[in-house]
Amino acid sequence: MLQPISVSLAKLNLITLSPMLVVVGGALLILLIDLLKKDLDKSLYVMLSVLVLFVDFGATLSLGINERGFFDVMLEDGISILAQLTILIASMLFIPLALTSKRFHEYSYPEFFALFLFMIAGFQFMVATDNLIMIFIGLETASLALYTLIAMHNTPGSHEAAIKYFTMGAMAAGFFVMGAAVVYGLTGSVELYDVAKVFEARMAEPGFAIPLIGGALLLMVAIGFKVSLIPFHLWTPDVYEGASAPMAGYMSIVPKITMMVVAMRVLAMYVDMGVEAVRWMIIILAVVTMTLSNMMAIVQEDVKRMLAYSSISHAGFVMAALALDTTKAYSSIFLYYGLFLFTNLGAFTMLWITRHKQKRYHHRFHHPYEKFSGLIHTSPMGAVIMAIFMLSLTGVPPFSLFWGKLYVISATVDAGYIWLAIVMALNSAIAAYYYLKLIVYMFLKPPVPGVEAIAANASRPLMVIVGISVAVTVFSVFVMQPLLSYINYMVSVSGY
């Protein structure tokens, strides 16, 4: 017969839920406001969203570290908090990009902002747990919202992008659950701390390796899809191209760092247990990803599409750190994405600022290289700023991403994978070519005659965002020390 269950509220530790509650509440609030009064300006929603995210940020900061809650489903450990903070900062910086001088379809919906906040809630749930079910639900919540947000841009490109992303996402979800099924079958649990224990205990059993590795493999397909590792990356360039620039920029950061955290929980578990096959799968995927995507990026004609390949390459770069299984490597992931965030934010915002509604320069692309030809003459400040972002992406010191690269490569070297470090270094050199290409167009080529003002979409908020990005990108070295020690602390207290 059933026993009555008594649950103490204190034990539930509801505080661990507070960040997500804030953001879900905020989303509902937006929906409610929309119900009460139509035709409110998007700026209201933008600011509301920023406020909500700000409160969320506060709530996340105030969380105790390594707290579990709600029957141990919620897990607010260091990496979870770090990831959430990154997500929130990124979101706070990306959402004001809605305040353009031109109207774009998605921002005419108040629901856009609600969905945006729901998506953030999904991401937060995803990282704040080590339960595969929770991860899956969070992932799907966020993804479904994301697909919609992309489609809402309402251009042929965005429709195609959404379809492609959605379909592949569905397939990836299939792989994820199959992988989870294997893990569950082997351990009787879907909670990773349990899973790890059982795995440890059963490692030596004969015939255990096949399902062990097989499960990891299936999960890796799903993870690889989300962080866009070759050959599961194919949606990425198309989606970046089809989606609006802010969305593309957002996708290059937030879903990836989220999935990285999941990968840290899932794949790193295998690596930590010494399953060499998984380690090698990660390394090979990482190497293939950074190399091939670099090569493909070289031949692109559109800046946004090039940036898509570049973010694939960066993902591969960071993915390599996952195979190393050292605190430093895990820290480097966060550091890298934290710095990548600002650079990419800046770069995509610049693209967004230069967005015209019509494709004036190319029958297909909004941002072909030619568009930026001779920018130094028509808009020197813009050219310099864009160049700073490109140089940062290249990894030229003292710009922010250099420090990220430095730390990742350093972690690789420390772990004894010198060949991998060299591959990473060479890849950075290849990558320099296509970033340089844009700089070459901007600085070294003459402007296209008869070109009109390129900053068609500029507005004050966008300028502010660019300003913030530039400031962080340029002066990152001065925040490195606190940032690094914070990240190191957070990662190491999480037991990684």
Partner: protein
């Protein structure tokens, strides 16, 4: 009995799903999919997951299939669809290899053996009760998140299928870009 039922169901399910993926006729495909879903719920019942079986029936056969049916009608795709299918060889090579891979993984005896359950099915309690017990304690948060997810899906569905998507503000020139207003490019 159980053995017989399993094999019957298995073969039927596999066959129906094969029809789903191979048939050129949308209607056949959907019908066989629905039938397969029903049979899967049968499997659930065999496995003693009564609650799951019911949910499967309701959600899949009821909701999902109904949605698809509506969609199908909307798409005017009741008949045979023309597809330029991928060469069969590639499909079956990939399908076959994935099947081999999956079977190898799943056929491992280690799965399900020597496993200590974390949520032991309580004795003497029927399945829905037991499920409810776990769902509303341990899995309350995921449950609520699933609710959010459904809300998201709903909003998404409404927006995407809504009339407002017919004209794209992203393409209509506003203000200074007045020429070529709202032309669809495709």
């Amino acid at each position: 009995m159980e053995t017989f039922a399993f094999y019957l169901f298995s073969i039927l399910i596999a066959g129906l799903f094969l029809v789903t993926v191979l048939s050129r006729n949308v209607l056949y495909a959907m019908t066989s999919l629905a039938a397969g879903m029903v049979l899967i719920s049968g499997l659930f019942f065999i496995l003693g997951a009564d609650f799951l079986g019911v949910v499967q029936l309701i959600v899949y056969v009821g909701a999902v299939m109904a949605l698809y049916a509506f969609g199908m009608m909307f798409f005017d795709a009741t008949g045979v669809v023309k597809e330029r299918n991928t060469p069969a060889l590639l499909v079956f090579l990939l399908g076959g290899l994935s099947a081999v891979m999956l079977v190898v993984i799943f056929a491992a005896p280690a799965i399900g053996s020597h496993v200590t359950p974390s949520f032991r099915t309580p004795q003497g309690v029927d399945n829905p009760h037991a499920v409810g017990l776990v769902l509303f304690t341990k899995y309350l948060v995921p449950f609520e998140v699933a609710a959010v997810m459904l809300l998201v899906a709903m909003i998404a569905g409404i927006i995407l299928a809504g009339k407002k998507m017919d004209t794209s503000l992203s393409k209509i020139s506003d203000g200074e870009e007045s020429q070529a207003a709202g032309k669809e490019e495709r």
